[in-house]
């Protein structure tokens, strides 16, 4: 008897799966996810797990924006359905949920998939299956490769662009100081540091420290920076670790100028970590970068606040809210430009002819040769508990091109924030 079960298991597994699949067997249609009055898109994002705290509000904001658009007639008569799947920031789960989106929910496109390690695990799959992979929520330069990944478009300004702009601002504002960096021990930290070195030079950083997200302690790193006499510290950290770094430095009575990537420089989120009482003190003078409208008196921000109150249950308004709604706006714009009967190809064409404006403070860079969204950022600073642009805006590329001041105007709000063809 002992030999019975040799490879029966595999067959049984097939049988079990076949049974489960009877109801869901499907063949792809011409333009999946589009009906006469709806268009379905999906995303993968962390709603549970350690990364959820910083990012789960993004997909909720995008959904709120789509609800707002749908209540006002949709885009070309179609309402936008947004399917949000939790991947817990785990690449293995991302694999599963993205396949569910594409094969079971038959989404038109994957929108704003979040995270470098997570999205890296599905970018080949999406391009293999020619599914539009729009506005990836990560600053990795990986998404801007039209040759390798023709269906993938980035959203965030790349970490390299951000770092080059911040380093240029630091050199102009605090010349001759000792510069250091604390970075996450993955592509985020590495790419950001690459950008810094491009501007500051190979010996421009007195100390390069790294941390791992799974170790909730940066005393050793901050101590090393203090010992190295660092005066201007760049941060390639997620929001939780920006707060941790600043809090640790304060405990060690270590005063420095902090300059953070936009991924970890969202003031309202940092206040959530540090507490209402000490945050304005610890974050006074805190410099970061941004490419989306964020001034308290901005017309986009006013509109997004209204949508947030009406369609998002008045959730706390943060940089994530603006980010999520801006992504929604950009997708709506792409859809509006893609014609009355949008197909996957027509959306791609709309993006590549450069028909989109977005709502950033610098123009979008989408073209046939560039799948990067923002090749420039503005500098923000915190003063008296208010984070706002200080006026400096830089544009540059992801390579070793020059960093150029940008003098154009931000994209203005038109027609209640609902794009038209």
């Amino acid at each position: 008897m002992s030999q019975r079960s040799r490879s029966v298991p595999a067959v049984l597994a097939v049988a079990a799966l076949a049974a489960a699949g009877l109801s869901a067997c499907s063949t792809p249609e011409a333009s999946p996810g589009v009906t006469d009055d709806t268009i379905t898109v999906g995303t993968h994002t962390p709603l549970t797990g350690p990364a959820a705290a910083g990012y789960s509000s993004i997909s909720a904001a995008t959904k709120a924006y789509f609800d707002y658009v749908n209540d006002n007639g949709g885009i070309n008569g179609r309402s936008i359905e947004y399917v949000v799947k939790d991947d817990g920031y785990n690449p293995a789960t991302t694999q599963t949920v993205v396949r569910e989106l594409v094969q079971e929910d038959e989404v038109f496109a994957v929108l704003n998939g979040l995270g470098t390690p997570t999205h890296s695990s599905v970018v080949d799959y999406l391009n293999e299956n020619e599914v539009p992979d729009l506005f990836v929520a990560s600053g990795s330069p990986k998404w801007d490769q039209p040759g390798t990944y023709p269906w993938t478009f980035a959203y965030n300004a790349s970490y390299i662009v951000e770092a080059k702009a911040l380093a240029t601002y630091a050199q102009e504002t605090w010349p001759g100081k000792t510069y250091c960096v604390l970075g996450q021990d993955d592509d985020f930290g590495t790419d950001f540091t690459t950008g810094l070195i491009t501007v500051l030079g190979a010996d421009g950083l007195a100390s390069t420290q790294t941390y791992s997200v799974s170790v909730q302690d940066v005393v050793a790193q901050i101590g090393a920076m203090q010992a190295a006499g660092c005066e201007v510290n760049f941060l390639a950290t997620v929001n939780g670790f920006t707060a941790l770094a600043l809090g640790t430095a304060a405990k060690m009575k270590y005063q420095a100028q902090w300059v953070s990537s936009s991924s970890g420089g969202d003031y309202p989120t940092l206040v959530g970590y540090l507490g209402e009482d000490v945050a304005p003190l610890l974050l006074q003078g805190f410099v970061s970068s941004n490419y989306l409208p964020f001034s308290p008196d901005d017309e986009w921000v006013a509109l997004f606040r209204e949508i947030n109150d009406e369609y998002n249950g008045g959730a706390p308004f943060s940089g994530n809210t603006v980010f999520g709604m801006s992504v929604g706006f950009l997708f709506a714009q792409a859809l509006a430009k893609a014609g009355d009967d949008p197909t996957r190809e027509s959306v791609l064409d709309a993006l590549e002819v450069g028909a989109l404006t977005g709502n950033g403070i610098v123009p979008l860079s989408f073209s046939k040769d560039s799948h990067a969204a923002f090749e420039g950022v503005g500098i923000t600073a915190v003063d008296q508990g208010v984070q706002d642009y200080v006026g400096d805006v830089f544009t540059t590329d992801g390579g070793d091109g020059d960093v150029v001041p940008y003098t154009g105007e931000p994209v203005a709000l038109e027609g209640d924030g609902i794009p038209t063809a």
């Binding site: 595999a10 076949a18 293995a92």
Partner: protein, 363 residues
Amino acid sequence: MNRRQRLPGQRPLVRTLALAAGWTAVALLGTFALDPFRNYQLALVAAYLCATAGLTVLVGATGQLSLGHAALMAVGGYGYALTSNALPFEGAARFVVALLAGAAASAVVGLLLGLAAARLSGPYLAGLTLAVVVALPAVASTWSTVLHGDQGVQTDFEGVPDALRRIIALEQWQAMVAVVVAAVVVTGLALLRGGRFGLRMQAVRDDEVAARLSGIPAGRVKVLAFAASSVAAGLGGAVLCFVAQAVSPGAYTLGFSLLLVVAVVIGGLGSILGAALGSAVIVLLPWLIGRLTAGLPTDAAQRLDGNLAVLVFGLLLITVMALAPQGLHGALASRRRRRPPDTPRQIDEPAPQKVLVPTEEQR
């Protein structure tokens, strides 16, 4: 192997292999009947089966409980990924070499763990293996220049070979590869357990002192059994890395490691068929629950997402233990046989307190 040397209950090697090849062919043909998502799930089941089959043989045949098989899968996955990235050539050769490297890496780690495991038993062994899983993220971040910390290692995309590209979809190709690897692992484990080494494992499990008195090197048997089980898990991890193109500590959490044990227990401890059933359960259940909760309001669905599955697994485990202590396979087998309770067979059954001993039916 000649007839006189054959052990009680053992089948001829040729017949075993023929049977294995036959069933594998059936499974491969079965992939044509499935849509891409089902094939993807089949690939996951096959990858998990490698690990659960190894685990069930280890627990069932030697009585060593490992809570750390997820870590051993991760070792196989990292071995596969690092080798695959380092190799200068592509295609099938790269896959095979990387797979073997993954197996070798998990064999080495399994051997080291086994050396410690052979000196421990019961909760102490469970504790040791548990510690290995818990340590995985720290290991990945300590050697982050090689293992890339929490982000993990990404591998190149292995598409469908050009010759088959027209008839086979990506998911189907991945499922076929996974099925073949799982078939090799399961056949290997079945041969191992059905042969001389299997008898030794059982002898050591039932009474270590008696086994030693009979001249069986108990320590060596336990270490080798652990290493063999580790190789099976490592191959599972390598296949998973082939499918996911990435290996990271986040994919091999403590929760996942315990889920492997749950799969083995639900399927029936010691039964490879049970391991297959259990693997299918741990792949399909979270997905089914996701489908069921999809109709709920967004807020409620988001609250339940990821949490409800854990609850259902707990309930399922309790239900299976209460109604069918020998797992799904045990329940199926006893229903099929309907053996009267007073046949001599039952008297031969092991004493009830030896919960880790599989019955003849289970095997």
